[in-house]
């Protein structure tokens, strides 16, 4: 047990910070926000070609660097801190994880090397309901001989309108809950898929909606055992939750840092705002949330590594992911809100960046389940089952 970054991990973190401080500036973020694509293609190419982040935790056998979840999380923290607009999260933290967890060897060999060189990808599973559990899988499939016919629509799909590779969750008609769910992987340009940008309040992350009209897939598109994929999908989502919690941690830290910087400059009633005790105490509370969130996220990152090494089971992963996501969601939202408050009037102008973090905090809080969703999930483990945590 050693619960701190190794020197190599520190270096990865520092390089990410330095790169993003230069490239993901306020101006760059606002430029990316104004496009339908939602990110700057040139920056994305630099990330892929120079930094190779997208292949970080993909095994070398599939064209990646073969590093671990801790390295990934260290990078994600900095991306969240600088509000980096990119298809990284959807491609790596959803789609690549889906392939790693549930893909056949053929699928891994086909798609992971593509992602590792910068092809974009995403995971679509939620329908209109707006929930995040198995019941939110609304798209249906019908088996017809050796092929599958998919129909229905997805909503709230990260980069859903632009990703080049799609992992799709669908359920056998007439099933509900955890039963009958399958995963498929397909190129996004497969006929039968219509896609659209879903403009959102947080402009730093793109969501799309997908409409499937008689999308016909062969059995080589099926990931895992037909109709048995909820357990794997839940693991994929938990890995995605850890990743989004890491971004939230970075955002949360930046809210604290930028607020302390602003109020240390600003004078009111003849004193630096930072000298008022009520302001100091609010900042102290923000720091508590940042550091606790950091502990939860780093722990979950270690569990992510254990999961890939098969030294942690799905329950351990679920617990760590729900803890990290629940705490970091509330911590980030709290810090962004207090950040606005302590900025005073300028906090609610579009000119200052704190409002961008506030919006990011809300969108990520909702995404993959808000805190009460995860608390109820933990309550089920603690109160309704005999599993020891």
């Amino acid at each position: 047990m050693n619960f701190k970054f190794t020197d190599e991990q520190m270096m990865i973190r520092d390089i990410a910070e330095a790169f993003l401080a230069q490239t993901s500036t306020s101006a760059a973020v606002r430029q990316a926000m104004s496009t339908e694509l939602g990110y700057d293609l040139q920056l994305w190419r630099r990330i892929c070609d120079e930094m190779c982040w997208q292949g970080m935790h993909i095994p070398e056998a599939y064209g990646g660097l073969g590093l671990g979840y801790v390295e990934l999380v260290a990078t994600l923290e900095q991306m969240g801190r600088y509000l980096c607009c990119s298809p990284f999260y959807a491609s790596v933290c959803l789609a690549a994880n889906a392939l790693l967890v549930a893909g056949t060897e053929d699928q891994k060999l086909t798609y992971l090397p593509q992602i590792a060189v910068g092809k974009t990808a995403t995971l679509a599973y939620t329908g209109e309901s707006g929930g995040w559990d198995s019941n939110s899988v609304k798209v249906t499939y019908q088996k017809q001989g050796d092929s599958y016919r998919l129909n229905g629509s997805y909503r709230f799909v990260p980069d859903g309108h632009s990703a080049e590779i799609l992992v799709l969750a669908a359920r056998d008609q007439d099933t509900q809950g955890d039963e009958g769910i399958s995963l498929f992987v397909v190129p996004a340009n497969t006929p039968g898929i219509r896609r659209e940008w879903l403009p959102t309040m947080d402009q730093t992350r793109r969501q799309g909606q997908l409409q499937l009209d008689d999308l016909v897939l062969n059995s080589d598109a099926v990931m895992g055992d037909v109709g048995q994929s909820w357990a794997q999908l839940e693991q994929i989502l938990d890995l995605g939750r850890i990743a989004v919690a890491a971004e939230q941690l970075g955002g949360s830290q930046q809210c604290l840092d930028s607020t302390v910087a602003y109020i240390s400059e600003r004078v009111q009633f003849g004193r630096s705002i930072a000298s008022y005790q009520s302001v100091k105490h609010k900042c102290a509370d923000m720091m508590v949330k940042v550091e606790a969130s950091r502990s939860a996220v780093y722990y979950a990152a270690c569990v992510g590594d254990q999961f890939f090494n098969q030294t942690s089971d799905a329950v351990g992963l679920a617990e760590a992911a729900s803890i990290a996501k629940a705490y970091s969601s509330e911590g980030f939202f709290h810090n962004a809100g207090v950040g606005i408050q302590l900025h005073g009037g300028v906090g609610i102008t579009s000119e200052y960046d704190i409002q961008l973090y506030f919006k990011r905090a809300k969108s990520t809080e909702t995404f993959l389940g808000a805190a009460d969703y995860h608390r109820e999930r933990l309550a089920t483990l603690l109160l309704d089952t005999q599993v020891a945590l």
Partner: protein, 396 residues
């Protein structure tokens, strides 16, 4: 202590209710429930026309004395008016600064000529006002006002120079009342004057501030040799602080009931949404909706206490001092609740970027509520120092 209204008051209730039913319709249908905080700059033409409609029915400035064209409505009647206005989903009052702030201020501190000039056009819904309090660098600190007013002997008028900020409705207004320093050597609360300044003049520039909502309810207002006439100072030079403080007292009166009606509309919309999308079955959402209901009801009871006490005692009471802190915190929570009731859909902009729906806009703008007009931190200082007699914060 009693809640029941007299038979006369119940007649009054029927009168306003049936007038609203007969008049808040047709071309005014579109502004039902609109024009609240964060939405004040919307539908401004329709809402100005609505003010004139109200005037025709005798429903503007009902609390003013009859000599100024009001009904001299009792507190009870004003409460009833606001209740029925809320029930009918009346729009946010475009004329509220004139009716509830400028009017009472002029009645209390203005001279006869000022009353004659300004009150009738406020009453008729023809002249609209905005307020010039905050300045960049002064923020909540009124005593730190830098805007200057010099008397120009040649032209016999006041010359105003400086900048105000966070002025809502500035672009939609005809006049701005401005706190400015008449004695350039003065500091703090002394040497201030309270001026009535026309907006439409070369010396006044209004620059919208783009907010996190993408819209611009607030503005910066620049005064570069702007002027107002020798008669447009309320009280004497040096009286500005006294007048401004009096005005703040009016602000926390009946006008709060107008605000609450908009809050009620918002809460009702959230409840309808929760029932429709099933989140009304979520136990946490149920608790929070009930809490919002409790909070809004108590806000109303607080106002009733303030209003009932006002009749005998003009000083600002404890229940009045908590008002800003209370409502702004409540409203901020309501914004979050609205989004959580909407769930994943809360993120989606149905009409494209960057078109927020009413609840999304309310949610984002509610973060301003705890800042403008004295941040929550300032409010807590005031409560601790003035109501509880605790030691003052040292100035730097």
């Amino acid at each position: 202590m009693k809640l029941d209204f007299s038979p006369e008051d119940e007649l009054f209730r029927e009168e306003i209710a049936s007038w609203l039913a007969a008049n808040l319709c047709g071309k005014f249908d579109s502004i039902r429930g609109r024009g609240g905080p964060g939405d004040q700059h919307m539908f401004i033409d329709e809402r100005k026309a609505w003010e004139q409609k109200l005037y025709q029915g005798g429903w503007t400035c009902i609390g003013w004395a009859p000599e100024y064209g009001g009904r001299g409505a009792t507190i009870e009647q004003q409460v009833i008016f606001n209740e029925e206005y809320a029930r009918a989903q009346g729009p946010g009052r475009a004329g509220h600064i004139g009716e509830t702030l400028v009017g009472p201020t002029l009645i209390a501190f203005g001279d006869q000529e000022q009353k004659d000039r300004y009150l009738p056009e406020i009453l008729r819904g023809e002249a609209f006002w905005c307020q010039g309090y905050s300045e960049p660098g002064a923020g909540s600190d009124l005593a730190n006002v830098k805007t200057s007013a010099k008397f120009d002997d040649t032209n016999q008028q006041w010359q105003i120079n400086g900048q105000k900020v966070w002025t809502s409705l500035a672009r939609e207004s005809d006049y701005c009342f401005v706190i400015a320093r008449t004695d350039s050597k003065s500091v703090g609360h002394r040497g201030l004057g309270f001026f009535l300044v026309p907006i439409d003049q070369p010396g006044v520039t209004v620059r919208p501030i783009e907010q996190l909502t993408g819209t611009s309810e607030f503005n910066e207002v620049f005064f570069d040799d702007a002027h107002c006439s020798i008669d447009d100072i309320v009280g004497e030079p040096g009286d500005g602080w006294k007048v401004a403080m009096g005005l703040l007292g009016f602000e926390r009166g009946v006008s709060t009931l107008g605000q609450q009606m908009l809050f009620q509309n918002e809460l009702d919309e959230i409840i309808v949404l929760a029932k429709a999308n099933g989140s009304a079955q979520n136990p946490q959402i149920r608790q929070r909706i009930a809490e919002a209901h409790i909070g809004l009801r108590i806000m109303r009871f607080n106002s009733m206490r303030v209003l009932s006490s006002k009749e005998t005692d003009g000083s600002l009471q404890k229940e009045a001092m908590i008002y800003k802190l209370y409502w702004s915190s409540w409203h901020r929570n309501l914004g979050k609740l609205a989004m959580d009731v909407m769930g994943s859909e809360s993120e989606v902009l149905e009409d494209g970027p960057y078109q927020l729906n009413r609840l999304q806009s309310m949610y984002l703008f509610s973060r301003a509520d705890t800042i403008y007009g004295g941040t929550n931190q300032i409010q807590r200082n005031l409560i601790a120092e003035r109501a509880l007699g605790m030691p003052k914060e040292p100035r730097g």
